[in-house]
Symmetry: C2
């Protein structure tokens, strides 16, 4: 009698959440410090000190102004700060009117999908490995068809043959996520250029724009001299979905934005549809105090050098133990191949050493597992001998 | 090519927003102090001092704990504080597991509607006068049919003859809002008892529960000895949607909850569907810092005596000038009859005196207008002679 699909979604605990709960139970037996939980993407690096300073300052201001409604799309001051930041760093010419402030990454994507998807025959393409909720949002809320392009596992760039085969007149949009969750890989300039050229060609061929939804919560978390990969200028029909969850280590605060550049085809209509979708989903007015925090802190990040240290340690260790793993340029995830074809069975075996890992199947990429390394460096140092033992159990080295 | 319905929703500015923008333009000509803007429901009374104190305290705590993800349904500590508050005040026995923390009132309603509505033939009943977005959320996002019960204009209680006529086997839920926006009226105990009895009878007759969605953002804002009207104990299939927007004067912070009591039929399924709908709509994890603020400040309210003063002044004035207006027990709205049948024309005439009022048509109740009196008392004192002149223009007194 009630909505069975929603009930199923609510009852079906995610694999990641299952592993996390298992870890909590195990911790009661062996002690929290002996659980090596690499399952969750909750940043362990604190927010920059500026966040607390700004919050204390705001707490002393007029509460009616601070905690009141802003306009539905966010305060003009906040949207101007977002535009100024991108313009300064990337030489763009965005205006406050191009931005719609949201309650975080999920809200940004939901609103954008709902604004763009017009019929049940519309298709939205995602690239494996992908964040599992993409598929659910596309199908269950936006009501479109989710088309998955299989992973190009040697480097996790785009398999263009597969993409070209899947593009058709019903393709409404593609979602990309670079740096990527779960593999950490950043799309190369070559990949982006090739993607842009292909989408331009196909948009012309089908007589309507194919939108690129660029989900960029990890944009600022890049290592080893990688350039920050801001994709919008490379393809004119790009809608950017951003969140401050990872860059400012405040995933619980639900603050982000949608950027609809003027160069998008029918930009005014797309922006209006974004406003309408926000209204329709009950999302108007992102949290007002954190709009102010974001406006003051945009352009700064948490100390990401911890992630870089963790990445180096893990990659060097795993490679030396015989694991195969692409060296990614960003985010805080590694996505090595599992040591048997069944990644679920592999992750079960890893539990023997209290290593909590997530099988790649839920990310659309079997035969791999995800390591979230947003943990203490000491945890990684103590976990490495266990990864070695696990490899030895498989007769490697 | 993009979603035309979302575009229309985004482009179609609400009447209230139109009036507000008109006021901004007029203010440039005649001065802000000479505009009597009664259009918006943005609380003018500041948040209690405790809110700022708690925020300053939290700003000094571990940022990883403060700003990290909570569980999808909200932190256990916050949900426990919600349960304890209601149990203390209303003698109930709620547990943390009955609560789902949300991004405010709109999110609470959207999630609840999406959890309960199972098919396009489902009907959701609202009572005029009603908050205009109800209809849009029911139709555009939950995908059900919105059935409006006309207002019983002599007292704005429920027209039970009309309700009984509209109830049928497709009725999935009713939304009530007491104290009410836009009329301020509180449902009497008699109304609630009669509603409960009718819904019990009809649920039995149709062989499935008819859920009562009680939208309670104004619950604590009651005057003149009115009892706080907590409806859930009166009808067992009640889902409560709450928001701290008005009680703590922080509408911009988007924090509220859904309460699914154990006594609801299929309570576990309904709670699961609420969790699933939150996931499907991208709403998991309400803003984490304001979960902590809500947990510490629940049970306190802003100084609502200002609203009570404003209400008394306005009611006495309007009645003495010949207006007809129900004396409401709560919220911060009055909903008098317009002095001509066309409330839009009446509100246009009021602009001559820079009185900005909202016609009742958008609330499903023509022939009336809304006054939001969450403004400075001085504004009301200065506006009263203008309401008198307006009545005189219509030849009254």
């Amino acid at each position: 009698m009630i909505n069975q699909e929603m009930m199923r979604l609510g009852n079906h605990r995610s694999v990641i959440r299952d592993i996390f709960e298992y870890g909590n139970q195990r911790a009661k037996i062996v002690g929290r410090e002996n659980i090596f939980d690499f399952s969750l993407g909750n940043p362990n690096v604190p927010a920059p000190a500026k966040v607390a300073q700004v919050i204390e300052k705001i707490a002393k201001m007029d509460p009616v102004a601070v905690h009141g409604y802003t306009s539905a799309q966010g305060s003009e001051a906040c949207r101007r700060a977002m535009a100024d930041d991108l313009n300064r760093r990337f030489g763009t010419n965005y205006r406050p009117e191009n931005f719609y402030m949201t309650c975080g990454a999920a809200a940004s994507l939901m609103i954008t999908l709902r604004a763009l998807v017009a019929s049940a025959s519309d298709e939205v393409i995602v690239f494996a490995p992908y964040f599992p909720e993409y598929k659910m949002w596309i199908e269950s809320c936006a009501g479109a068809k989710c088309v998955v392009i299989p992973a190009q596992i040697e480097d996790f760039q785009i398999d263009f043959a597969a993409l070209e085969y899947s593009l058709n007149a019903d393709t409404k949009a593609l979602i990309i996520n670079s740096p990527n969750n779960p593999c950490g890989v950043i799309y190369s300039e070559k990949t982006i250029a090739r993607l842009s050229a292909l989408l331009e060609k196909k948009s012309a061929q089908y007589g309507h724009p194919i939108y690129l939804i660029s989900d960029e919560p990890y944009r600022e978390i890049v290592f080893g001299g990688e350039k920050i990969n801001f994709i919008a200028p490379a393809y004119r029909n790009t809608v950017v979905c951003y969140s401050f969850s990872k860059s400012l280590s405040m995933p619980g605060e639900r603050i982000g934005y949608i950027l609809v550049p003027d160069c998008i085809e029918n930009a005014a209509d797309v922006y209006a549809a974004v406003c309408g979708a926000g209204r329709s989903l009950g999302y108007v007015c992102a949290p007002s105090m954190f709009q102010m925090v974001a406006a003051e802190c945009v352009g700064t990040t948490s100390d990401i050098s911890v992630y870089e240290t963790n990445r180096r340690l893990l990659l060097d260790g795993l490679h030396s133990f015989g694991y195969t793993c692409v060296s990614p340029g960003g985010a805080f995830y590694l996505f090595p191949r599992s040591l048997e074809a069944d990644a679920g069975a592999f992750c079960e075996k890893a539990k023997k050493y209290d290593l909590l890992l997530v099988p790649g199947d839920g990310f659309g990429t079997p035969g791999h597992f995800r390591i979230s390394y947003c943990v203490k460096t000491e945890t990684i140092e103590r976990a490495l001998p266990l990864f070695k033992k696990l490899a030895e159990d498989y007769g490697i080295r």
